[in-house]
Each structure stands twice: as structure tokens, then as C-alpha cells.
């Protein structure tokens, strides 16, 4: 396959970026999208040019490191996968592919396709935990049975990989799906209920401070989420937040 690429190049955080054209002469369908970029970079190094920097690590769809906006969609055209699981067989000979970093005010570009997602870190630090110290004598794991329905829902919320596709997909660059996934996981479990009020207030406050937009229920985040995190979680966070506000 011959593929035409338009890749966002930006020297550093303060530089002005631009789309640069590259042509890939022999792309195979079994290559992953990132392996295609590896080959582009090998070509650039051989020519004495600076390779394209992009974030990636596990290459099996679980670490949430890759942050590519491919033809306008986070992680590309396929559903329920990250860019590293996208294979070139999803494209055809002669296609033009535009590759940009995730775009959001709260995700400034570091270099080329790499963005800074430390805003997500600070949201988690504000309350994404249960306050329990490590000790040799905690409660036995089976002392509190948890209804399977809630355990499964908590698990589904917990599968968020923190990639930021939800933010990149949202026209408001809202982080509601990301934040609500953690709030929901703990709100659904007896261990998490104790601090539920403080948690939702602190995490939402931090989310707003970071400059993420508001949620207008377009649902793009759910569609683009590589782990299929449900909008239900946003509804649950809104309920948690409202009830926390009433409790003062």
C-alpha cells in the first residue's frame, strides 16, 4: 500500500507547529499504526532528519500512553482500541492520513505528537483514592461481600486507562468521563463510600481548575473511549456531586 501522511510537527511547547507531508511507499496491512510510524522514523534518521516524536509504550492497548488524533478521531477510525492496536489493514492504498496530537487546552503539546497530561494526574491526586494505610492486619478480603452487579460495574468503571481520548473527542474538551470513572468505581464499593462526599467535591474542583470544559451530553467521549467507559458514570458522578452539595 502507498499511504500519504500529514503529520503535526512542533519543535517544543513554545514553537509554532505545522502539518508536514510524508509518503510511505510500501505499507503492509499486518503492520500496526505505530509500526508504520517506526518505519517513517527509520527513513527520516537515514536521511539525516529529525524523527517524529510520539508517546507509546505497552503497544498492547492497556497503558494509555499513545495520544494520536488520527483523521480527526482519537486513536483512529476503529472502535474500542487505542492507536497501538490499530492496524494498517483498516486503511487502503492511496489513503491520506492526518496525524495530530490530542487537542485540549489542558493537554499542552510537548513536542510533535506528544502532549502533557499532568492535569489528569492532579485530578487523581485530589481524591482518586481510598484513605487506607498499608498494614499487616487489614480486614479479611472476604469479610465484606459485594453484590456481583456492583462489583462488575465498579470494575467496568475502573478499566479507564487515562489516555485522554474522551477529552480529545469532546468539543468542549471536558474531562467528565475520565473523572467520573474513578468517582464511580469507588462510589459503587462499600470501601469507597466512606469518603465519597469529599472525593467527588475535590476531584470535580480540580477538574475545573485545570481548564477542562463542561459536559453538554454529546456522548462523543463514550464513542471514542478505547475501553468503552459508559456515560452512566457521568450521570452517577452528577448524582454524587449533587448529593454531596446538599450534605454541604
Amino acid at each position: 500500500m502507498k499511504i500519504y501522511l500529514k503529520v503535526w510537527r512542533q519543535k517544543d511547547a513554545s514553537a509554532k507547529g505545522e502539518l508536514v507531508d510524508y509518503t510511505m511507499e510500501s505499507v503492509e496491512g499486518d503492520m500496526s499504526f505505530l509500526e508504520m510510524l517506526d518505519i517513517l522514523n527509520e527513513d527520516l534518521i537515514a536521511k539525516g532528519e529529525i524523527p517524529v516524536e510520539f508517546d507509546h509504550d505497552c503497544r498492547e492497548g492497556i497503558c494509555g500512553t499513545c495520544s494520536l488524533q488520527i483523521n480527526g478521531r482519537p486513536h483512529g477510525p476503529d472502535r474500542l482500541i487505542t492507536a497501538c492496536q490499530l492496524h494498517m489493514r483498516s486503511f487502503k492504498d492511496g489513503d491520506t492520513i492526518v496525524i495530530e496530537p490530542f487537542r485540549a487546552k489542558a493537554f499542552p503539546v510537548v513536542k510533535d505528537l506528544i502532549v502533557d497530561r499532568t492535569s489528569f494526574e492532579r485530578i487523581q491526586q485530589a481524591g482518586g483514592f481510598i484513605s487506607v494505610n498499608t498494614s499487616g492486619q487489614p480486614v479479611d478480603a472476604n469479610a465484606i461481600p459485594i453484590e456481583k452487579e456492583f462489583a462488575d460495574k465498579a470494575f467496568n468503571a475502573a478499566t479507564c486507562i487515562g489516555c485522554g481520548a474522551c477529552v480529545a473527542a469532546c468539543k468542549n474538551a471536558s474531562a467528565m468521563l475520565f473523572t467520573s470513572a474513578k468517582v464511580s468505581q469507588f462510589a459503587l464499593l462499600p470501601q469507597g463510600k466512606v469518603e465519597a462526599v469529599e472525593r467527588v467535591q475535590n476531584m470535580v474542583r480540580q477538574m475545573d481548575l485545570e481548564g477542562f470544559g463542561n459536559c453538554t451530553n454529546t456522548g462523543a467521549c463514550e464513542i471514542e473511549c478505547p475501553k468503552g467507559i459508559s456515560l452512566e458514570n457521568i450521570a452517577r458522578m452528577n448524582r454524587e456531586y449533587l448529593s454531596a452539595s446538599l450534605k454541604g
Binding site: E42, Q125, I130, S131, A151
Partner: protein, 664 residues
Amino acid sequence: MNSNIPSGPLADKWTKHKNEINLVNPANKRNIDIIVVGTGLAGGSAAATLAELGYNVKTFCYQDSPRRAHSIAAQGGINAAKNYQGDGDSNYRLFYDTVKGGDYRSREANVYRLAEVSSNIIDQCVSQGVPFAREYGGLLDNRSFGGVLVSRTFYAKGQTGQQLLLGAYAAMNRQIHRGKIKSYTRHEMLDLVMVDGKARGIIARDLVSGKIERHSAHAVVIASGGYGNLFFLSTYCMGANVMAAWRTHRRGAFFANPCFTQIHPTCIPVSGEHQSKLTLMSESLRNDGRIWVPKKIEDAVAIREGKLKPTELKEEDRDYYLERRYPAFGNLVPRDVASRAAKERCDAGFGVNKTGEAVFLDFDAAIMRYGREKALTSGIKEADNTLIRKLGEEVVEAKYGNLFQMYEKIVDENPYKTPMMIYPAVHYTMGGLWVDYNLQTTIPGCYAAGEANFSDHGANRLGASALMQGLADGYFVLPYTIGDYLADDIRTGPIPTDSKEFDEVEKEVLERINKLMSAKGKHSVDYYHKKLGKIMWNKCGMSRNAKELQEAMTEISELRKDFWENVRVPGTADTKNQELEKAGKVADFLEIGELFAKDALERNESCGGHFREEYQTPEGEALRDDENYKFVSAWEYKGEPKDAVLHKENLVYENIELKTRSYK
């Protein structure tokens, strides 16, 4: 070698040790700094716990968040001797299975402690909100893993590692929020700084600005994972590297058993030259999947050429070789045994994909079995095969859905309809920095935890034990043992970073970077990494022999020389530069690769993941030599890897009788 194992009966050692070691009072902990390098399960859990205790912790990771460490990719589960299933499990059995599974090359006292704290790990994680799988009664569910006869593995679908890491990450976040952990992300440790013979800090590089930084502390914990990426193709993440551990080794820490590497039997086979990494299919699949190749070579050829579909092959024409060779454990033999058996069949010409390096993992029998059970429990009396199959596929999807989906995305075949193809791949390194019972390396004040140390898995790790060991080290072992050392440091005060020791190490680090940047050759870093990977896989892989190991040592040494003269690193060192990051990592792989081959050459026996062709039974099973090789090889750095000096830690078995490992 003094491993500092406490005296007394095995089951009492850890309690006795905890009672006897020195403690640091809470007010003094505030004056003590600890650096933790790596924030996976071991580093993350250690950092959180040390900060809870009151120490000032600095963590370093190359990722943009601690949540992305590769512990996240562990799929199948975590072992614990809870005996919730009432199937006869106990601390002793977990201990025994782990020592046996490691082919009697691990330290009894360490492994017993691991089994002893395993239950606490599950309790701790549940209290943190880790959503383990549960049964309808609301209690925790278990499944089986290879090499054992009980169900002791706790899991969270196919993402156990992610959920456990997010638990440790949340515990870290709580401490970051309190200001007790300072988290340095996108940072890389480039060297260890020693003052008066003690580890007192590190030199790190800010990967965004390229700035070289000095960080001091009273103790340094290396929890930077394993070195399997030296094979180029592996199930490791792309960024995994040995730099922190290897730099520590170069400063005097002994490196133990480098040749003990785990080759995991169930990975998606290599598809072509462009491939950058291999993907693991969880060992849990072997609970239900049956592994086979055709019995007749002509059928294997026909399948390879696409003339015959695997589903068309009759039952009697299939060779379920694990069930045939190991009737007691069948498809659930340990990883090393399963990997070698696959290689044996493929080498004999029975491989089933284009390259001839793949075997089938077939769920058909499980689908039909589950389907019949589901039909009965749903009250459907006369279900036909189509309905049974449909019901069975739903059960299998609930159990392994995400793994099947991942397989389909990568291979473009539907594993519900046609058997999966799998082949062994490099997955884990049992070797690592030598540590004593306290997890201290041979450098005072420098500790190693998780995969970065060598301690608990001997020559082969059992499935679902890596998560257990990482969290045991970080949550329950290191926080005690490090206090014993730091009790002497309460009057030391902050360690200055403007000393001559920091000056000297920083100067060496800068010289190394300049050397990498100034080699203006014609080959990229990946060119060298791929070449190294080929040497390792062909000559130091699933089976090894003296001649090829000697060749490997020479070839790696020559490749290293070529690398330093001819590697091309574009860009500059004072900005974000991923090629420079890779170059530093590959430079270290080119050193440890040679030590790896040397270690494999010196160990004239077959044990666990280390299979020497010269030492095998007539049936092709591993032939261990307990008389001459019942020791840990701990290597001391002396310049070139080939000049490393061997120190032996003799392994003493007081509670387990050494036997030939049999899974028949």
C-alpha cells in the same frame, strides 16, 4: 555471600526478624529521604508505604504517569494462599509450589516470606478498592494457573495487573497530595551516586528539557523492572530497560543469574520483519484452551500452505502434545516446560503458520462443554449443537472476551471460530540485582525490589507470581527492612548534592551522552537493537549450547564496539530526544547481553528457563545438577562483561527435599 537469613524455624523467621530489627521513630522519619526508581507494582507500593510511614520519598519514572508502568499489562492474576476454595491450599503449599516451579534455584526463606504475606496483599488491595472478580454470592473468585494443583489465583478479568497498579497508584496519589511523595515523571535515572561506600543519590535526566539533575537521599530503591527487552522482540513495553539496574551493577552491586529468563508459551506469533513487539495471551487461557499440532507432517504442511483448515482436521489426527507428555498437569504445565514442548514440535516440522513457528490453542472443547452446562442450567432440554455452541461462546466471552478481542484485532482471525495460533516469547527475567533477605544489594543503602531483583523465582517463575512478588516487596517487606538500615542515619541530616562525588558521576554521565551524540555513523539505534535481539534469540533463547554461547559473547562484544563508533543519534541532547533515550538503553543491553551469555555458559546444567542442550534426559527433559550448581551466580563488575567475577551463594534446602521436577 551472606544472605542474612534470620535463624530459627522457616515459618517463624520473618516474624522473628521483624521483632528484632531496628525501627526509626516517627519524628526522625521526617528527616530521612528515600529515592524510588520505577513506579510499577514494586516501586509504587514501596513509595506509597514509605511515605505513609513518614519518610520523604522521591519517585522517578520515564513514563508520563506512574499509572503506565508495565505491571499494567499483566493479565491473568495474582496468587495468594487464602484457601478460599477449601482445596487444601496453605502458605506451605504456595511456598513449595514456588520453589519447585523455580526448579530449586531460589532461596527458601525469601519464598516462604512471600507465601506468608500473600494473603495480606489481597486484603490490602480489596481495602483500596481494587475490583477483583467476584462470584454471585459476593465473595472473591479464584482460578487455576500453571504448575499447581489448587485454585489460588485472584483476578480482575484479563486486567489484574492494571487494577493492582491503579491501587498502588492511588495510594501514591494520596501521598503526593500530602506532599510526602514528590513524583518525577518523564525522568530517567542515568547513574547511582555513592558517598563513603553508601548509595546516596542518583543522576537523572529530565526527558522533556534534557536537563541533567542531581538528587540525593539516604537510601535508593531500584524497582525498574526486568531486562527482557534486550531480545528486541518481547512482551515487554517499548520503554522497558535495564539502565537503572545496570548502572547500579557498574557501581558495585552484584548481578544475579542473568541467564534465567522466562519465555512465555502463549504469545501471538511473529508476523513479519516490521514487528516491534509481541503480545501475550494470558496463561489463564490454558485453563480452557487445549494446545495441539497435527499428528501427521503432511497435515501440518497443508495447514501452513492454507490448503487445509484446522477445524477440518479429525480429532484422531491431532496431537495434544502436552496432554500426551504430561498427563497429570496437561495443558497447565509450567511455562518453561510448555514453551520447550512447543519449540520441540515446531523444530520437528509440525508448526502451523507460514513461518512454521506456531501451535494451536483451541477452545472448541471448552465452548461445547460450557454450552452443554449452560443449556442444562437454563432448563433447555433438547439443545442442538448450534445452540450449545452459541451458549458456550457466550460463557467463553464472559471469561476471556477482552483477550479474544485483542487477538482478533492483531491477527484478523476470529478465535471463536478457528483455533488461536500461539508461540513462545520473552516475557520476564528471573535474574536481576542480587539482594539479601532484606532486599539490600551489595551496595549499602541500595535496595532492589520486584522484577529488578533476583530473589524469589529461581530459574522459572510460576504464573500469577510476579504481581504477588512486586507487591510483597513494596507493601510488606521493604518498609520494614529499610528502616533497619536507616536507623543509623537519623543524625546524618540532608545529603548535599554539591559534593565531589556528585560532580564526578555527573561528569561521567555527560561524557557518555556526548559520546553517544558525537558518533556520526550510518546506523540507527534500532538497527543495533534488532541485531542484538537476533543473537540473543538464536543463541541464548529457549535452548542453549556451549559453542553458540561462546559465539554470542564474541558477536555481542563486536556489535557493542561497532555501536559506539557508528550509531547515529539525531538531534541534540538538550531537548526531548527519544532516539537518545533509546541509545542509552541499547548501550546497556549490549553489555548485559554478553554477561547473560557468559552466565549461561558457566551454568553447566539445565534448570527452569535455562536449557542447555548438553544436559538433558533421553526424553528431552531438563537435567539439573544439584551437586555442582545448587547456587546463585552473583556477578561482580570488572570493566568488560567478559571479565566479570563470579561469586556463589550456596542454596541451602532445609525444608524441601530436592527432587527432579516432574509434571507427568
